[in-house]
């Protein structure tokens, strides 16, 4: 994992589930693979036409990881093209998109 790997959540941080759900298409398959690689505790549930990914407390989508799988540049905001729903407080930068519970940083 590269140097800008997501930092671990603070000790005592909420472990309540966050989730993101995406339409099933070629691009989201790359995003889901990146999420699974970067979030070892994430669980993936497949439904007709959609996939829901739950993770305890925190879930990160990293631009670099998605680009590795898509083999092209990927803007974090392209997430809007596949996104269906989510739960958790959002922090979005040029590098990663994070869902987590707990106070703002």
């Amino acid at each position: 994992m590269s140097s800008n790997a997501p930092t671990a959540p603070a000790a005592g941080a909420s472990r309540q589930p966050v989730f993101i759900s995406l339409q099933t298409n070629d691009i989201s398959r790359g995003i889901v693979d990146a999420i699974v690689a970067d979030n070892p505790e994430a669980t993936v549930s497949e439904y007709p036409a959609m996939v829901k990914i739950d993770a305890p407390g925190r879930l990160v989508i990293r631009r670099e990881s998605v680009e590795e799988r898509l083999g092209r540049r990927w803007d974090v905001q392209e997430l809007h093209l596949s996104l269906i729903s989510l739960s958790g407080n959002i922090d979005e930068t040029d590098e990663e998109f994070t869902l987590q519970w707990g106070a703002r940083r």
Binding site: Q16, P17, H80, L83, S87
Partner: protein, 527 residues
């Protein structure tokens, strides 16, 4: 910024770009007071000290918004085109599915337009620029949803009954007053309550239950046109939900005096939204021929688990789970059965066809609802099936139900402690009696009685003679009030309304596809 720099500066990061494209657009007024320019964002009692503390975590600026929305539109219309060219309407699982779609398109599409109007008003009312931009984008999104849904309606409308006049029906048809009254209640509140009602309570807490299992169900039933507009709309909802959560956290962080006001709104709009979802529960359990999950499972996943996490997070501000969430939990094994039984009663006055569940569907419900279905509901549906077999048509109820003064759902729900007793609450206000379906709705009524006594209650209006076409004379011999009401609704009896088994939709489907839709006979019970 220097105009003569030799090489371009570093590209701005997403946070700087967002700040430039939003905060820079506002200003303090000089020759008019800010209070006169923004007259509506203080009377609810919400105290805001620093609007710049507002954050929009998606940081979507207008230029990026147009780019991504444009791409979403291209994808959406490519699929709708393909669906039309492929005659996709005949590739759905079962024509009964179309009635789910009719309920969705007539019940929900006008809400998208109402939300568009509501956000245009809310956006105008906030003096903080970040909130204003977010509300404006949401207003445009909602208009897009109304348009894409109307485009989908127009295709299905060429082949099937019941989709010809949703906007007109929204203002008149009895059960459509349920979704209508939710949005109009919100739009006639102040801007902060409106956003709490729609973006937080409806979109953040409850729309997952509408869009995710139902749209996934549309895909499962072969309706790619609907799943595509549904998911395209729901990807906007992700931003709206974020706006809802953000506005709630922003208000809570601004002043401790805001906390009890917001808790009251969360309690009110959770309950109102939950009652509205009664329609969704029966869509999932009874109206999707191929089912994805039961209402009860969806409630556990999206409200108890994911909603529970949300409210645990909000606990640090002093916000607790919405009042009566435990009633909703206790009702999860009952809600859809009560609702579909009601449409079995009144399906001759609905804008879609209804049917008695088939034997294999009763078995699926027994399996999903082992504690409630066989004991309380199966005998009723078996009685209805026997009646239909004997008479060649479904049993229908020709008297009208008492509606709840707040949610406008008929008073059909039962006591949590006794599923054979109707839950009915009564109160008096200025000498008039008012009825509610539950303690949740009665609390809402008693908090703002002067608002809810004005509700336009479809059943009361029918009995008062206000729902007949102009010029109708109800005193003529042989007058049929139901026929006159359906005429007023722009519904053709037996086609737009009534039994699926005798409907033109079924007849046409068999003619067009060569399929035989005769329901499978029930297995004889083992002795």
């Amino acid at each position: 910024m220097s105009q003569t720099a030799a090489k371009p500066g570093k590209r701005l990061g997403i946070k700087e770009r967002y700040a430039m494209m939003t905060r820079g657009l506002g200003w303090e007024t000089t020759y008019q007071s800010m209070d006169d320019v923004f007259p509506f964002d203080k009377f609810e009692g919400i105290k805001i000290h620093d609007w710049d503390k507002w954050e929009d975590p998606f940081r979507l600026t207008m230029d990026a918004y147009w780019k991504f929305q444009g791409e979403k539109e291209k994808k959406l219309y490519a699929i709708i085109d393909a669906f039309q060219q492929n005659q996709g309407q005949f590739n759905i699982s079962d024509p009964r599915y179309l009635n789910t779609l009719k309920l969705f398109l007539t019940g929900v599409s006008p809400l998208e337009y109402a939300a568009h109007r509501g956000y245009a008003m809310a956006g105008r009312s906030f003096r903080g620029v970040g909130a204003r931009v977010a509300a404006q984008m949401q207003s445009i999104d909602e208009l897009r949803h109304a348009q894409t849904q109307i485009h989908t309606i127009s295709h299905f409308n060429k082949y099937f009954d019941g989709l010809h006049d949703p906007q007109y029906m929204h203002d008149r048809v009895w059960y459509l007053s349920v979704p209508k009254s939710y949005f109009e209640d919100a739009m006639t509140a102040g801007p902060f309550e409106f956003v709490t009602a729609i973006s937080f309570s409806f979109e953040y807490v409850l729309t997952n239950l509408l869009f995710m299992p139902f749209m996934s169900g549309a895909a499962f039933n072969g309706d790619m046109a609907t799943v595509t507009f549904g998911f395209s709309a729901q990807s906007d909802e992700s931003r709206h939900m974020t706006l809802g959560l953000e506005v709630v956290k922003f208000m809570l962080e601004q002043d401790p005096d805001n906390v009890p006001i917001i808790q009251k709104w969360v309690d009110k709009w959770f309950w109102r939204g939950y009652r509205l979802l009664t329609l969704v529960s029966m869509m999932m359990d009874y109206m999707l021929p191929k089912r994805v999950m039961s209402w009860s499972e969806a409630w556990e996943m999206y409200f108890e688990q994911n909603g529970g996490a949300l409210f645990e997070d909000l606990a640090r501000y002093g916000i607790r789970l919405p009042k009566y969430h435990e009633v909703a939990k206790a009702e999860k094994g009952h809600l859809s059965h009560i609702a579909w039984a009601t449409f079995n009663n009144y399906g001759h006055a609905a804008d879609f066809n209804s049917w008695v569940p088939q034997p294999d569907e009763l078995d699926w419900l027994s399996q999903k609802y082992p504690d409630t279905f066989d004991a309380v509901y199966r005998p009723r549906f078996e009685w209805l099936a026997a009646y239909e077999k004997e008479h060649g048509k479904m049993w229908r109820n020709d008297t009208l139900p008492l509606l709840c003064q707040v949610c406008q759902v008929p008073c059909i729900f039962t006591e949590v402690s006794d599923p054979t007793r109707i839950s009915l609450r009564e109160t008096s206000y200025h000498g008039m009696k008012y009825h509610c379906c539950s303690d949740g709705c009665m609390d809402i009524f008693k908090d703002e009685p002067e608002k809810y006594v004005q509700a336009w209650m479809p059943v009361h209006q029918i009995y008062q003679g206000n729902c007949f076409p102009e010029g109708t004379d109800p005193t003529v011999p042989g007058f049929n009030p139901l026929a006159a009401v359906l005429d007023y609704y722009h519904m053709k009896p037996g086609a737009d309304s009534g039994d699926f088994n005798t409907s033109p939709d079924r007849h046409n489907w068999e003619r067009w596809t060569g399929q035989d839709l005769t329901p499978p006979a029930a297995e004889p019970k083992a002795a």
